[in-house]
Symmetry: C2
Subunit: 322 residues, 2 copies
């Protein structure tokens, strides 16, 4: 299997791991790159010196291309981007903010720029900024994502809007069926979060991984009940896809009341995360939770997705076309 | 192109029109069936005598199989189902309620039963009830739909859960790219609403069709602000995918306040619908609004979707597999 995204990024397989703040540290990025995908470090999990160490640690584990992805609405972005450029990563990915200010310096340093978008309007903006590829993220994605469109209708609309720029499908893909489907839809690759968050190399908590393994498709909710407490500066139109638990069932839909108790809940939720109390703490996952049955090495996951997708693309069209 | 769904339903092309209350009357159902798909009358738009006339009118326009689909949480279902059975339609489809009570009588009359579901749990229930096919509907679908999962992750999870029962993908499909993608995902066909609502044979308003043609992918919202006013008895977990307008921008997220003015808004919204005031009245559409550029005959739409999907299934796997 080979797409234009492979040529663009210098990778073997058209899979990128989502640069998830928390799970996507050097171990995961290196494992994905070593398996032939593009590993991305979640660059918004620490300060510039932390990021420099993560990049160095990734480089020690792989000689293949890898990158760093940012939650670009968070404060401190400039310092983090400067480190990524100084360290000469292959790719910088921006999510949740207009990437325009960051394209020229990256390109001047020979670094490719990916933009993750949740709307067609954002895709048009990113294309005008000159990004090298666009990840179109649907509402089914785990963690922070848009509230407007799902992946299946978003990807073709973004393709129609941005011309020749390769579009990567993000959200709803955890196995070879999903990868094969989005390639047929016109995407040049898949941006995969939840499935890699539940890998052995993910730096996420083991209790969180176990909850995703146990969860089904119906067990998630797209909500603001954690961001309202944390105050994390995500832009309008972005919510947080998490597993349902006692906390979400209590407060989703009662956000005004919840805000009255914000200080108390901030302490309680921090403690719950430390203690692994998944009935209160956030466990971020998309609807593909229902397609994930085990914590496995990221390389095994990636190779299986590719092999399954290749088998489907060889078999299924003939079945349907007769 | 030919799938197990074609064999099951006795149709040429694996496309079913959503039995949309309002748009899907005899003209649309007959046009879809005549073009080789399965036409479904939206059976919850009137009383039993009205439905009988719609079935007769459909039969006058086509000798091919067609069916009736119900909003099965609405009152009066038993009388409507009785008419569909008496008239011997080929298929009865249930949405928004457990189909179990309705399967034996339909099967005894030689009528196939489809169940549209929004969750894996509902799919398991429908499979246990003995339905003949299951439509798995994602949040991107137009009009009334679930709030939990999008089509891309829902379809494979439903397939895994229901064994050999054919699964139809519903939500997010308006062109050959979408159909090809869901067939690769493992679906045996596509259940298509918004695209057929914007057809010449759709009984929806012309001003509503024009709004969908003008709208983009980013212009919809999944909301309860119309159902709260109408009081339509949809079950928990179901919301309404409509085009954003002044009314939704004002009231979505302020539902408690809106309910204070329910009586006044009920009159205002009814008047707005009659007058074609699309800044107040509901225009139901999914995210595929961004993929729809013209009001066209339903048969032309169906044939183009099939031709595009066939071309993609012949071309794209070879491009990707090399």
């Amino acid at each position: 299997m080979h797409t234009r995204l492979c040529d663009l990024l210098g990778i073997t397989h058209p899979i990128v791991n989502a640069p998830m703040a928390g799970p996507a540290k050097a171990d995961l990025a290196a494992a994905v790159s070593e398996a032939g995908g593009l590993g991305l470090i979640g660059g918004s999990s620490g300060d510039p010196e932390w990021l420099r160490q993560q990049i160095k640690a990734t480089r020690e584990r792989t000689s293949r291309p890898f990158g760093v992805g940012f939650i670009s609405s968070f404060p401190g972005l400039d310092g983090l981007v400067a480190v990524a450029i100084e360290e000469g990563v292959a790719v910088i990915a921006h999510s949740f903010a207009d990437p325009t200010p960051y394209v020229p310096a990256a390109h001047a340093a020979g670094i490719l720029v990916l933009a993750q978008v949740q709307t067609v309007a954002q895709a048009v903006q990113a294309a005008a900024a000159g990004v090298d590829a666009i990840a179109a993220q649907g509402v089914e994605a785990g963690g922070h994502t848009g509230t407007s469109s799902a992946t299946l209708p978003l990807v073709p609309a973004v393709i129609d809007a941005v011309g020749d720029i390769p579009v990567i499908a993000a959200g709803g893909i955890a196995d070879g069926r999903g990868l094969a489907a989005v390639l047929i839809l016109g995407a040049e690759g898949a941006w995969i979060g939840t499935r890699f968050a539940v890998s052995r190399e993910s730096a996420g908590s083991e209790w969180g991984k176990a909850r995703v393994v146990a969860a089904g498709t119906d067990d998630t909710v797209l909500t603001k009940v954690y961001d309202l407490i944390s105050g994390s500066p995500f832009p309008a139109g972005i919510a947080d896809h998490v597993l349902q638990n006692r906390y979400t069932r209590t407060w989703h839909g009662r956000e005004a009341e919840l805000l009255q108790e914000r200080t108390a809940w901030r302490a309680r939720l921090e403690q719950a995360s430390q203690q692994g109390d998944a009935e209160l703490a956030a466990v971020r996952a998309g609807n593909v939770a229902g397609l994930i049955d085990a914590v496995e090495p990221a390389g095994d996951i990636l190779r299986r997705i590719i092999a399954e997708a290749e088998a489907i693309l060889r078999r299924r069209p003939a079945e349907v076309l007769g």
